[in-house]
Amino acid sequence: MFRRRKRSPDDFASEVHAHLQLEADDLRAEGLTEAEARSAARKTFGNATAAVERFYEKGRWLWLDHLAQDLRYSLRSMRQGAGFAIAAVLTLALGMGANTAIFSLMDTVLLQSLPVADPPSLYFLRYAGAKGTGISPPYPCFETFRAEASSFSGVAAFGGSDLSVRIDGRAERVSGRRISGDYFRVLGLNPVAGRLLTPSDEQLDPPAGVIGYAYWQRRFGGNPDAVGKTFVMAVGDDKKTVDRTFTIVGVTPAGFYGLLPGRPDDLMVPTTTLPAMVRDTGSPWFESIARLKPGVTPNQARAQADALFQSYMREHPTSAENRRDNFNHMELAPAARGLGELRERFSAPLKALMAVVGMVLLIACANITNLLLARAARREREFAVRVAIGAGRGRLARQLFVETATLFLTGAAVGALLAWFATRGLLAFLAGGLHPIRLAMHWDWRILTFTTLVSLLATFLSGAAPVLRAIRTDPHAAMNGGARASASREHAAMGRLLVAFQIALSVVLLVGASLFLRTLRNLYSVDPGFRADHVALVSVELIESSYTQQVPRIAAWDRLLTTVRRLPGVQWASLAAMTPLDGSGRRVGLSAPSFTPHSDEDGFVSLNTVSEDYFASLGTPLLRGRAFTEEDSAGVPAVAILNESAARHYFADRDPLGTVVNINSRSSRIVGVVRDVRQTDIRQNAGRVVFIPLRQPYDRNFHMTLAVRTAVDPQSLIGAVERSVRNGSPSVLIGSSHTLAQQVDQSLLAERLLSWLAAAFGVLALVLSAVGLYGVMTYSVARRTSEIGIRLALGAQPARVARSILRQTVSIVGVGLAAGIPASILVARAVRHLLYGVGPADFATQAGAAILLAAVALAASYLPARRAARIDPLTAMRYE
């Protein structure tokens, strides 16, 4: 009970005083003299001062008093040792700031729940089989879940794709979501303006859409008038679409970005805008999210969804293989944190970075421990005096802890400030690529708790040794000065051990950083099957309603190519449905004579529709036959080109040229074979690809990417290309423009983040260790000043003295390396899956790290060694 006392200690003391007088009065009345009476009264009372003190301490928030005292004291001593305090706080700010920054990024990417009602009761419903887990079963199956699964209070569907819309007559491309009518009800969201979509909006009568908060701000400046505005969007399927006018009826709440973290939804329209897909009984194309009813376990719900799924699969049979591999049963996946793509991509790199910053903090802590030990040695007399005049050792220890904790919390606060700026930078880095990853970072209690806990833990880690030393202070010996040599010898040994520990950790970090950097370099130097330099990519869309017929559509693409080819600086210009590493894909069945597929999978290839000159534009070598020409058009028999993998798969050693294959049951003659291109991931081989000419299309290609090889900087040509595309026709839309090199960069975003940050932290670790070593060696020289002075006076060579100091460094570094290199192998083995083209136990890397560290260590101890060599014997003898 911390009730505040109403009575002051002064009042209590005056009562005690009154008692003594009254007692003396009584005693005098009993016959004692004045003096006798006074002293007897005092004697009977016992220790009056102690009573007053006990009164003071009783019921008071004594520890708070002491804490305030300790705090005042530590601030005072921080001010006195300003140099020490600044060094310590800076070191800690770097260490703590790195931890806070990486943790807050990790929190945002990996840990945060969606800002929806009761996230833990949300689950994704997915089909699964021997080949893993998929997405939602086809839409009609979803509809049976929605209608019949009583375990859920609601089931909603959502599928994502970019949408082309016209607002105020201007065409633009937005990040879109097609959602079932009860999507927002299932998520439990409320609009910030207007209303959200409801099941009746699925009728598209009238058509309605909802916009995201970020898009509202970006596109409409947050103007309330946005609600009620209309936009035109094509509704329909592959065969036939019609333009419909939609009304924006509302805006989703500010914190809600959609269910795919990192990709905010701009525009949400009903799933029924794709009528064919909604009817399609065989194609999965969206995700289902369901909310469990209270009291229903995920297992019960899964069983129920599975029963519905199984009966659906009986009605819509597929091949036994497909049934086993893919559509085997239903699974429930927790949806509290949304879709996992971003998490999967960044989980391992972020965890590795967390470990890295943890080690950086340990190195920083070791520096602080050394500083504190040196300071404790200097303050030995002060502690001794305080113990001698009766300070409790517990109190002394607590005060030292408060001092250390003050340092650490100040460091953490400054670090949090650094982290704030650092995370802005990190978020900008993630949002700055071609496919911006837009994250909303909230600094909430979790970040605060993390930072506080880490700084307290660090306080204990680095404060323990100095505090233990301080409370072991023997007042007698310390006052004598006799024990100082031994105590500081002990401290010096501990300091050297700590520096060796720092060096071991630095080895691990440097080895890790250089492994990651080499991984990145290896990834960039992989031969991807194309030349990424000097290629500009401009994605272009023909507005569907203006080009419904194939002939004018191809004519439009042709005109576009002709104008771009005329631009100065353009070497080759071509069009392609997919470009390397752009994340898109299209699968078709391909069968070849005398090829027997062993599984369903065997008959599938990726399809890319390209114009002539595509391979020349990308720099992909043609291995056999010929490339496409303008003559491969509608009037002549269809042709196709295979990549190496497809040629090998279907033809083994035989020559594919001239053979007629069936691509989704259309006959095409193989006219060429090209080199494999790393299409989806620079780490992986391409897989099988068939190319068909744009002038003999299979799809209705409204979207194509212009791939332009330039003689000049491709970035400088993008503007001119865009202008000529726009001038060519009012019904074209430019999606995004960038270079192929940027596209490669984007695909390696996580790797770049990891290796750059690891390198930065490696350098930080190196600097901190160098500072630590410098401190310890300087202290050691200072401690031995008189000894060195005597040696020099007796005729020792200054160079020898300096060498002995350097020898000490070498032995410390040796111990550090001996521990660090095996540790680095263990650590690198744990992150092996993040490496590419380099093993965890790479000798060159280890040797490089060791040499770098040794060089820096020797440089750091050069100054102390020189100081030792220059000690003036006379001054040294007078020392102390």
Partner: protein, 119 residues
């Protein structure tokens, strides 16, 4: 004449006993601390050793519990002193604690037997 016996004959107060003794001395009206100390010592035939520091802390405790009230006043020989008096809550506590003590004393007496049988 000193009022003390030699310390050996005295009994240190049992935990919680002091509170009861204080409350009892206040039954006949308000008193200041020194008078309470004297009263306890004299009424117990000088058996109890009352540490005065503890007494004042106990008074403070009782005041905080609301069993006694206190205010500064003037003693019979014109000295400033702090006078304590029983509150109704204190009176109720006194009754309860007295009953408790009597039962304890009786039980102890039964176990230890009549005084004359003691060696």
């Amino acid at each position: 004449m000193p009022t003390q016996r030699s310390d050996d004959d005295r009994i240190a107060l049992l935990q919680g006993t002091l509170d009861l003794l204080i409350l009892r001395t206040l039954v006949f009206g308000s008193r200041h601390g020194q008078a309470i100390a004297r009263a306890i010592q004299q009424n117990s035939e000088e058996v109890f050793l009352v540490d005065h520091g503890s007494l004042y802390l106990a008074l403070q405790r009782l005041e905080e519990k609301g069993w006694v009230g206190a205010k500064w006043g003037i003693s019979e020989n014109n000295r400033k002193a702090r006078f304590y008096s029983l509150t109704s809550k204190g009176r109720a506590k006194l009754t309860a604690k007295t009953v408790q003590w009597r039962r304890l004393a009786r039980a102890m007496g039964l176990i230890l037997g009549p005084e004359d049988r003691e060696a």
